[in-house]
């Protein structure tokens, strides 16, 4: 399997009374009342350094993401971070996983096609192209996208980007949402016709079906841990089977908060940071997330009937609860390793997105977490699935060398047209 370091780039030093002063980590806190630009400069640099450190320590990929107007993560343009990481990891066997820029909120979306192509050229073909629809608050409030149009814009934009990457001719795009008289992108990605596509989702049935039909990698970006993702995971694999796709675990990515220490007791060093993460950073009220139109009527109805994702009263939970309920896998390397292997097998995860920095975690503790994880946990995960499945959603140039002797043709190779 592949393991990627995920980073949100949060504000690490919020005032203690933050959640009493504001009703939301999104939109409401005014920059000048909370933030210090010099500190933020340090956070951006630490984030890049932590990611580069993870690459040197053996992580297979580095994940950036886009969010706006909040304290929880503000890589407002993930391509800026991805470009820096591509340069910082020049020549290394590590993927730059942009997961990524939000298509509906960028107009025209060929801007993202260009940025991704730049990163793919800059990194020598190491890009994974992630295409999130974007959180409702980000797309519709921060960027003013009409909620009920977000999905249609997304789909048209994705189609446009894919065509712009590989078209041999100059073409005009006469779309419903975008019109361009001449599209002839410079540069084009190294990986043709397109880099591997990963599409994140947080529990919308419509997104799951869309991704399975497209045969892309679906990444479940939950913060509630593998234990709480079984309903969605089962729904995902049922959908995969119903729609005639293979059970290749690499078509599923999953995010997990992880904290590794010398012992289970010592892992309590992560307590303040995970509580900070869930109490302050994930402090987003429903009325900023459940914006009318963000979900189409069938998804909305299904969510009201039987939510794919459970909701929790995060403020009431403490470190012990987060660990017990599996939101955070914390403990000695052996504890984390056992839990992760069980979760990976249960959910059939091919791409694990390890959130090794969360909340107020200081730079040094993050480096320690990366170091312990990569030395003592990662080796036990790397070989999972590879005896049986080929990762079709990974940059070709990063494929590990084939084991000795010719590999038998597999069903998934045929699906891909190989």
């Amino acid at each position: 399997m592949k393991v990627c370091m995920f980073h949100l780039m949060p504000y690490r030093d919020l005032p203690a009374d933050f959640e009493r002063r504001y009703k939301s980590a999104y939109l409401d806190p005014v920059w000048f009342d909370v933030a210090d630009p010099d500190k933020v400069g340090r956070y951006y640099n630490w984030t890049l350094d932590e990611m580069a450190y993870a690459a040197r320590a053996g992580m297979h990929g580095l994940c950036t993401n886009q969010h706006h107007q909040n304290v929880y993560g503000f890589m407002a343009n993930p391509s800026l971070m991805g470009a820096a990481l591509a340069k910082m990891t020049s020549g290394q066997n590590v993927a730059i996983v942009q997961i990524g820029s939000t298509l509906p909120s960028t107009s025209p979306p060929t801007r993202i096609a260009e940025e991704y192509a730049m990163i793919d050229c800059l990194s020598g073909g190491r890009l994974v192209a992630g295409f999130p629809t974007g959180l409702p608050t980000d797309a519709t409030i921060s960027n003013g996208v009409v909620p009920v149009e977000q999905r249609a814009r997304y789909r048209e934009a994705l189609e446009l980007v894919l065509k712009a990457w590989s078209a041999r001719e100059v073409f005009a795009w006469n779309g419903r949402h975008y019109q361009l008289p001449m599209v002839n992108l410079w540069p084009r990605p190294v990986q043709q016709p397109h880099p591997p596509i990963w599409i994140p989702g947080s529990g919308s049935a419509t997104t799951v079906e869309f991704v399975v039909d497209r045969d892309d990698c679906f990444c479940h970006l939950s913060y509630f841990g593998a234990k709480n993702a079984e309903t969605l995971g089962d729904y995902y694999w049922d959908t995969v089977a119903q729609r005639g796709r293979d059970a290749n675990p690499y078509r599923l990515g999953f995010l997990q908060l992880i904290g590794v220490s010398e012992s289970d007791e010592a892992a309590e060093e992560y307590a303040p940071h995970v509580e900070y993460f869930f109490h302050k950073l994930l402090y987003t009220p429903q009325y900023y997330q459940a914006i009318p139109g963000y979900q189409d009527l069938p998804s909305l109805t299904r969510a009201l009937e039987a939510p794919l994702r459970e909701r929790f009263d995060l403020q009431a939970l403490k470190y012990k609860d987060f660990v017990e309920r599996g939101f955070l896998m914390a403990g000695s390397a052996a504890t984390v390793r056992d839990q992760l292997i069980a979760a990976v097998k249960r959910l059939r995860i091919g791409h694990l997105l390890a959130l090794l920095h969360f909340g107020s975690m200081p730079h040094e503790l993050c480096l320690k977490n990366i170091d312990l994880f990569c030395r003592e946990v990662l080796p036990a995960l790397s070989d999972l699935w590879d005896d049986e499945w080929h990762d079709r959603w990974w940059p070709q140039r990063l494929q590990p060398p084939a084991p000795s002797g010719p590999r038998e043709a597999r069903p998934e190779d045929r699906l891909r047209g190989a």
Partner: protein, 267 residues
């Protein structure tokens, strides 16, 4: 009370199914509902139907069974031309238009684009204008308690309780909740992110005699907007409604219906 019956029109090259509630006898009147759908307006419509033939179309996308219809219209030009087709299909030459909130903005746009098609115009707490000093509150992203207090003069009163009431059976409950949200999504398509789409450039074309009603405790659109509309529509009259927030036809249906009927009867 006069009986109301729904019928379904197939419009827009067959792409939009529109349910229309029709009832009562008398001169024709078209009611254009606000962001929360037609369900809460039924008592008010019944009162109007005592003396009028009332037609109340569900906005595109909100008719049961046809949510995809919302994707057949992109902008205000589409929406206004579509409502021209609705009037044609209902066989209404020059009806009175009564619009609430989003429906009020829509009624203004129809009356400005097709002044010859609107006999009289009643605007109930309409959207459509924007004042930087009194920004319209975005009802789609308000916490429940703030939303309820903005919609109702008495958010704990019986009208609010009826408006937000859900059926007891689980399926009906889900359908009602989903419908309530989806109606905001469909109407929101035309007013997101701000309900100012240039009406102020077109509003001078409204020729119909106009009555502007406003809930004195409207917490979504400040009652001061009533005067802004009145200044831009020749001869328009303003009437405040006490004991009502953004939904006077729900919170004070008798009084609102009385004012509408008097205005429509007057000439």
């Amino acid at each position: 009370m006069p009986a109301f019956g729904p019928r379904t029109l197939r419009l827009w090259q067959g792409g939009i199914e529109t349910r229309v509630e029709t009832g009562g006898d008398g001169p024709p009147l078209v009611f254009l509902h606000g962001p929360w759908g037609l369900v809460g307006d039924r008592d008010f419509l019944a009162l109007l139907a005592e003396g009028h033939r009332v037609h109340a179309p569900w906005h595109p996308g909100t008719s049961p069974g046809n949510p995809e219809a919302i994707h057949r219209l992109d902008d205000w030009l589409d929406l206004v031309v579509y409502y021209g087709e609705v009037l044609d299909r209902l066989g209404l030459e020059r009806p009175a238009l009564i619009g609430h909130s989003f429906g009020g903005m829509l009624a203004c746009e129809i009356a400005a684009a097709m002044p010859e098609r609107v006999g009289r115009l009643v605007l109930i707490d309409p959207l459509g204008l924007w004042r930087a000093d009194l920004p319209v509150r975005n009802w789609m992203i308000l916490p429940e308690n703030q939303r309820n207090a903005a919609l109702f003069a008495d958010p704990a009163g019986p009208a609010a309780a009826r408006f937000f009431a859900l059926p007891a059976d689980p399926a009906g409950r889900v359908a009602a909740q989903a419908g309530f949200t989806w109606a905001q999504a469909c109407t929101g398509k035309f007013v997101w992110p701000l309900p100012d789409k240039g009406l102020t450039k077109r509003i001078h074309r409204i020729a119909a005699p106009t009555l502007i009603l406003w809930g004195a405790a409207d917490g979504i659109i400040a009652p001061a907007y009533a005067q802004d509309f009145a200044e831009r529509i020749a001869g328009a009259r303003v009437q405040m409604i006490a004991g009502a927030g953004h939904l006077p036809q729900v919170e004070q249906p008798q009084e609102t219906a009385r004012l509408v009927r008097e205005f429509l009867a007057d000439g």
